[in-house]
């Protein structure tokens, strides 16, 4: 049987076996695929999601009982400003502070891992591995229970509130993971770049800060923002330790409304939705960062 030969002329045929061009059956997802998609949606998108997600639990739950849909909507409506301005803003604050502390320490630790001094490199490596492989909750408990609730320097007493301890506890695993991101990104730059700048008499420090790190930023952004998202979604665990962030306040709000079971899904559903919606600004910010630091390789 004559077979068509692709790529020569449309009339070309042969009876020999034909090797067809390779077509992959799947496309590997992009690193920032979801962020790109989400950031591409218009500003109406979060509003629509919010209204849909807020309305269905009332509809589903409030049928037949004497506590009506209007009652639970009313309750949520009363609590919503409080939950948002006191609870969720605080959650964001904790995640920002944690990311800030974790990033600064993580960069230092990552550069420490790359140090030519053996002791520094090994110590940084050890610290990184310890905190990268510890359960977050255990670290939180240790920090919560072992840190004093105030410092006294001379006559001034500096109180250390619970949320600050939570920031310290959460920033430890973030720090360790950012340390690995920095180390990995620096190691991914070809050694030829080190040689080229060495042969131009750049010192090690200049090479690292002027040549290598600027090439790494773009590579570090997706994993870095990824860790911010993971961290934000993990912040509710600090509620276990009594920090008054959004989850804790939601529980208190339900208690204040006589613990009505009809309120569970609307209230916790609301928390779920605002966390989901928060990924929208994260996505937009990620895509902006990516453009800002793009390097034409």
């Amino acid at each position: 049987m004559k077979k068509h030969i692709p790529g020569i002329t449309s009339a070309a045929v042969t009876d020999l076996p034909v090797l067809l061009s390779y077509k992959a059956k799947y496309r590997a997802p992009q690193e920032l695929g979801f962020s790109h998609w989400l950031a591409g949606q218009s500003l109406w998108f979060p509003v629509i999601i919010l209204s849909v997600a807020l309305l269905w639990p009332f509809y589903a739950l409030a049928q037949g009982s004497e506590y009506t849909m209007a009652d639970s909507f009313d309750a949520l409506w009363r609590w919503m400003p409080f939950l948002l301005t006191r609870g969720f803003v605080f959650t964001i604050l904790i995640s920002f502070m944690t990311m800030l502390v974790g990033t600064v320490l993580g960069i230092l630790l990552g550069l420490g891992q790359l140090s030519p001094t053996y002791v520094v490199a090994r110590a940084s490596w050890f610290v990184t591995q310890v905190f990268r492989n510890s359960p977050w909750l255990v670290l939180l408990f240790i920090v919560m229970l072992s840190f004093p609730f105030e410092f006294t320097i001379g006559d001034t007493i500096i109180p250390v509130p619970d949320w600050m301890k939570a920031v310290i506890g959460l920033s430890l695993p973030v720090m360790a993971n950012i340390s690995e991101i920095v180390r990995g990104a620096v190691n991914s730059v070809p050694t030829a770049q080190w040689e080229a700048s060495e042969s131009l008499a750049f010192s090690r420090r200049q090479t690292l800060f002027r040549i290598i790190l600027p090439q790494c930023f773009k590579r570090m952004i997706p994993p870095w923002m990824n860790w911010y998202a993971i961290l934000t979604m993990a912040t509710p665990i600090v509620s276990i330790l009594g920090v008054e962030e959004v989850l804790n306040l939601t529980r208190q709000a339900i208690e204040a409304e006589d613990n009505r079971p009809e309120l569970l899904i609307p209230f916790y559903g609301f928390v779920l939705v605002i966390f989901f919606l928060y990924s929208y600004p994260i996505a937009r910010f990620t895509v902006r960062l990516e453009k800002r630091f793009s390097v034409n390789l």
């Binding site: 131009l200 040549i211 090439q215 390097v295």
Partner: protein, 248 residues
């Protein structure tokens, strides 16, 4: 140091270098006088690139001595940065900094390492760009330039440091035949201006034309050397004859 211009600017004596148990250089000696152009040729794996990488201390050596302007390169107390200000190097894979434009690539080292005045360096960099015939490409990033253009930026980048010796490590091996010529012309002009050059190359025609002295290495030793005319037409050693027979 007591180096004077009648002494070799680069002097390599009995250099041994191994990577683990693999001995790459087994006692290599050669001298380069100021203004001289020497070419090192030989089959792959014969230690050519290793040898010139040893000259600016990118590789260390196990035995022997290498001096540049009378200064021992493998002295542990040597200020490597001082050495590398005197010795420029151009690589096979260009190794330009991808996040900087052509002009910035050239200006970086003089401004940051030699702490020279930025405006003065920029003026000099523009002259160098002109010299390697890349006018109009000042603001292009390496990713936007062809291989030959990138390599010429790399040469200009090295020259901006005003080195006394230039090392070229198979600089045309990654280029297509047409762009090879652009780069060779640039090196030839440099040699004609009296720059001391050490080249590792596979371009025999070019070596013959531009070199003052040819060294042939095989399996870690220098088998034969001489001025191009005698070397190419009157090779004595059977290994040289065989090598030249294969490629000419």
């Amino acid at each position: 140091m007591s180096w004077t211009k009648d002494q070799p600017i680069v002097s390599i004596k009995n250099v041994h270098k191994s990577f683990g148990s693999l001995e790459v250089l087994k006692g290599v000696s050669l001298d380069v006088m100021k203004g001289e152009v020497i070419c090192i040729i030989g089959p792959s794996g014969s230690g050519k690139s290793t040898l010139i990488r040893c000259i600016n201390a990118l590789n260390d050596i196990q035995d022997g001595s290498i001096t540049v302007e009378g200064q021992e390169v493998h002295d542990p107390n040597l200020d490597q940065l001082e050495l590398r200000k005197k010795v420029g190097m151009v690589f096979q894979q260009y190794n330009l900094f991808p996040h900087k434009t052509a002009l910035q690539n050239i200006m970086m080292a003089p401004v940051l390492v030699l702490k020279q005045d930025k405006a003065e360096v920029e003026a000099r960099a523009r002259v160098l760009i002109k010299k390697v015939r890349l006018e109009g490409k000042e603001d292009s990033y390496p990713g936007e330039l062809s291989g030959g253009q990138q390599q010429r930026v790399a040469i200009a980048r090295s020259l901006a440091m005003n080195p006394d010796v230039m090392l070229f490590d198979e600089v045309t091996a990654a280029l297509d035949p047409e762009t090879v010529k652009e780069v060779l012309v640039t090196i030839k002009e440099l040699a004609a201006e009296g720059m001391t050059c050490v080249l590792v190359t596979h371009e025999m025609g070019f070596a013959r034309e531009v070199a003052d002295h040819i060294y042939f290495t095989d399996r870690g030793v220098i088998v034969e050397h001489g001025p191009p005319a005698t070397f190419f037409d009157d090779a004595k050693d059977p290994r040289t004859v065989e090598f030249l027979g294969q490629i000419l």
